[in-house]
Subunit: 352 residues, 4 copies
């Protein structure tokens, strides 16, 4: 199953075409709606723009079931305030795609609301991911994520060898998914502080996959890490990904880092899971575990240095409008969705 | 230009086919040989297996120039001691691809020397990367890397806004590329300690690209980060990648993290480069900068817990043979090569 | 530039997403509308279903110019009479995709109006092709087609060595494009006869490309013939394609068939063009020429033998509703469109 | 399973890398050798160049079984007489890839023996196809071909509704595969006549596939006809392909052309097979049937008009050396091989 996302933030609609959806899948629209709701802005901690986000399915579904032919869904844009962004075509926002995009597209891209670079484009991604997750769930594969860090506050890590599907499903129900509620409260405080200063703050999402079969993937360009990372970096604001122990491998000895193998109930298991469920580019039967860092929202109301592309002179920018001080709580479902689409690709690359 | 690597560590040969090489490129075989030499084991600090690694070009080159048709080069395997690995088919090495590969390939993959999972497969990757770098150099694009961390010792970071091509070329000349020689000596001591304990140690490579044009790439699955990460994870032992500030974005405010933009000599520049030269999935004209973590070599001589796949019982493994206590110094050129191949792909995805 | 078509004949809409459109193209909507008009049914000789076919652009265009980001256009379905097709889910039409599709999609595909198999899906194809042709025209590449044969009546062939762009443009203006008007009248008579008998008739389209540069393409799976044929067979009802002399090569000697080469005004030309402008899978500077056969419309009102998939018994089918006795005049623009999309792909595969 | 062919006629070797071969396939090297023997020149009716063509497997096979990792095989070039071709770099052969290739590759491609354009490159294609056929045979899918036409002589057509696997296997045993031996003798006479005149002659191969499952494929760019045609046009000298009734559809009425459907032993069958086993781009359970035209060998000893690329003046060319007057008997196995590789691709595109 492949997906192609389209749309601009303030154009008529954003949407996605899914190709290769299996025929006969009874779409759980309530579940799709629930997943999309997780992505939407929520009061207080995030932007006040209300997005209805009701997807309209244009093709590929008949009598409630997928037909197996390309499925297109669109989400109409509404409640947009283009005037907020009027000057952005000339004054690129630092750390946003505005300037690079303007060079890439010779100044022809739609600047309103970030255009095709907008986080709004993650709405059809979550739609697509919801369908992918429904397919994975039929194989008892579950994906869930929590906020591992915001600012200086860290959550607990997943227990890497024991991640029940139920825990992942529980996290999916939460508006602010963390393993340690106290840490969660402290994170929210960091966000409120940033918001009060007209600033924003970054963070880390940790994502886990339970139930994924052993022995899927291959070495090289289509290894599991390559496919997952390609999909995860497609999410705006992601700047890093690591599997299992990740960057902490650097300070480890092989004798600590290597995951010992044991027989358990007739199955080969590892007694620790530093490799995050992947060795040699192939799944090894342990939970898949990865971390991904999300940079602070570039749109802040504090004044910033930029350039005026119409005059090619230095300029100052103060962004008005509704912007998230922190997108981590909304990002969890987006990361899970991108992972789901990646894992379907991994599964389809299996043997003939 | 795409590449397809083939071969097993103890089979007749490893090799690569390059498709889409531009016609008329006069191959600098001396440079290719030099780059491949960087990958080879070096006395004391790494494995004692001597690899001749002279590539034989079977196609795609005529009278010293590329023909534009597929270029195949092979590197014959020699000086192998398969008996060292005889038991590995039954006793998978922890944290290596042995077990996952055995499930994936139903026990039919070649276990000798790690087979297709062997680090030996990076030899044709460096060959391919050397050609890619020659093409990039024609456009004044240079790639270089240093060892940022080994064990508990850290090197200096690149100055993210000012990375001269000359510095990158100088790093390419060094057997143990670091920015701070004192740190380098301390790293070597960490390696010697690990070696003396029959252990291994991991580390981090920081890689930079100078001269890459602004405005190349796109948002989504083919963004610059996606393409680079896909290629980097194809290198065995890589477990994480981050761009620019990477995981440190998590603890930052937007007002700190955002890269201010200024006019300088008529050009738009950023006064810091936390985004590692990429915003919105597109290059922004600043140096491209990324870090990648490499886990400790899984093959250590210390006894380890594993399972015996022939009896499905717990077992103990003590690996004999020649193994690197640390592959970081050899990995630099491999990472640079994978990055070169990725960046050619990024460039070819430009406008028609 | 790639395209992804979606939709079902009687669903909410059909459409297409174009990826890789160059930025800054001022869309000639009048020309697009004219090309789409050529595909629509025309009085007397074809089905009486009136299709408005006004495409709505959802993304990728801003202020009349392409943005360079994915362009989605949809065409709402209207004026459909689903009851005409009500029994088709159970009674597959001979030589249509109904039965094979029902097996492929496990009975879940939308049967109304042929669903995703409908000729209606060629509307977004012509939309996509119109944009491709606009890009090609900037490089002075022109594509045109005429009806070479319908039933027993044959048109003249193109002069294979001399095909002016003006001739191709003139053919594009005609509702029933032929080189020999007398043959055209006889063809129309064949169609009327078939229509009066409740039958249909097939034919051949000959398509030419003027102005395509020499030396583009490559041998193997991405040769020019491979790419063109792949795109042409994506058009429903196409059952064959041949280049230049095509199947008549079988009865020729090399000494007749080989195209002699001569210098002409400082350029290398062939004095005949049996190869249809392609040798070794690469364009040779002569006009590209191919023929493609289109089978008779499967939907006829004469009674036919089929099976009832609900009872798995033999059955008889008499198709009611509005159906074309011959689609050749409407197919010309569809073939040209598919060729345009293929040729853009050929061009993009050129050197870095 | 994908394949990548490399090599030049007079370089060190030609070869192929197969990716995605299922693990554990016990290679039937005798069968591979037999298939490759069918492609080699045979006394009297074809070129006197003797090709040993023993493939050397460099990777992907261990202890006689495929490992599942990329399989590379090379065939060393020998017995070449490069002097025969010495002038070809300057004097392109009419209807060969010489001139277009020289423009495409800026004069850098290897001209000796046609270089990468040589029919010699079909040796690794047959090797790859032999493995594909072994995989297909495990699913009881058999592919066979006969010479349908050479010059003015035609063979019988396959009975389109009844093609036993045994017939296809029998044709594979024959040096000159035809259904009607009398036609075969007359064809050989056409070839001898052409040879005696220093000329060559073209022809048509008809290829059939028995046992292919119903309901595989899809409409659009990846329809069965698109995938097959893409692979078949990758074979040098192919200039057309048609499915089932092919170009004869043009003169037919729908009432004749449509394939009536009936129940037979509980299965849906067609009582005729004008669609060649494919409707709506999807297999319909009937035998897959296609015809492909092969132009006369361009290399003839009769003098021909060409141009001298070193002086850009008109020139005359008389080709010396060993050349086939007709490649149809050798082409059968090449077409079957390309079809086998295409059909594996079709099968892998099935549902997840």
């Amino acid at each position: 199953m492949t997906y192609q996302i389209f749309g601009e933030s303030h154009g008529p609609a954003v949407g996605v075409v899914l190709d290769g959806v299996p025929a006969g899948l009874a779409l759980d629209m309530e579940e799709i709606s629930r997943q999309m709701g997780r992505r939407r802005a929520k009061g207080g901690l995030s932007t006040s723009r209300i997005e209805g986000d009701l997807p309209e399915i244009l093709s590929g579904v008949y009598q409630g079931k997928t037909t197996g032919t390309p499925l297109c869904a669109i989400i109409a844009n509404q409640n947009t305030r283009s005037q907020d962004y009027a000057k952005l075509a000339e004054l690129p926002r630092p750390s946003h795609g505005d300037y690079a995009g303007s060079v890439r597209y010779r100044g022809c891209n739609d600047p309103r609301g970030g255009g095709h670079f907008s986080g709004r484009l993650t709405a059809p991604l979550v739609f697509a991911g919801s369908i992918a997750r429904q397919i994975l769930r039929q194989r008892r594969i579950e994906i869930g994520a929590h906020i591992l860090q915001i600012g200086s506050v860290c959550d607990k890590f997943f227990d890497p060898v024991e991640i029940p599907a139920e825990l992942l499903q529980k996290l999916q129900q939460e508006a602010f998914p963390v393993l340690d509620e106290t840490a969660g409260e402290a994170m929210k405080q960091e966000i409120r502080t940033a918001a009060s200063e007209g600033d924003s703050v970054g963070g880390i999402i940790q994502c886990a996959v339970a139930g994924f079969p052993c022995g899927v993937g291959q070495p090289g360009l289509d290894c599991v890490e390559s496919i997952l990372s390609r999909h995860i970096f497609a999410v705006p604001a992601v700047k890093g990904i690591s599997f299992g122990l990740g960057f902490d491998f650097a300070s480890q000895k092989g004798s600590q880092a290597n995951d010992p193998m044991r027989m358990k109930n007739g199955k080969v298991v590892c007694t620790q899971n530093n490799n995050g469920g992947i060795t040699g580019g192939i799944t090894n039967g342990m939970p898949i575990l990865f971390q991904t860092v999300i940079k602070p929202t570039p749109s802040i109301s504090k004044p910033q240095q930029t350039v005026d592309l119409s005059t090619m002179e230095n300029a100052e920018l103060s962004i008005k409008g509704r912007h998230d001080p922190c997108i981590l709580s909304r990002a969890a479902v987006v990361i899970e969705s991108a992972a789901a689409l990646a894992l379907l690709e991994v599964l389809s690359g299996g043997s003939l």
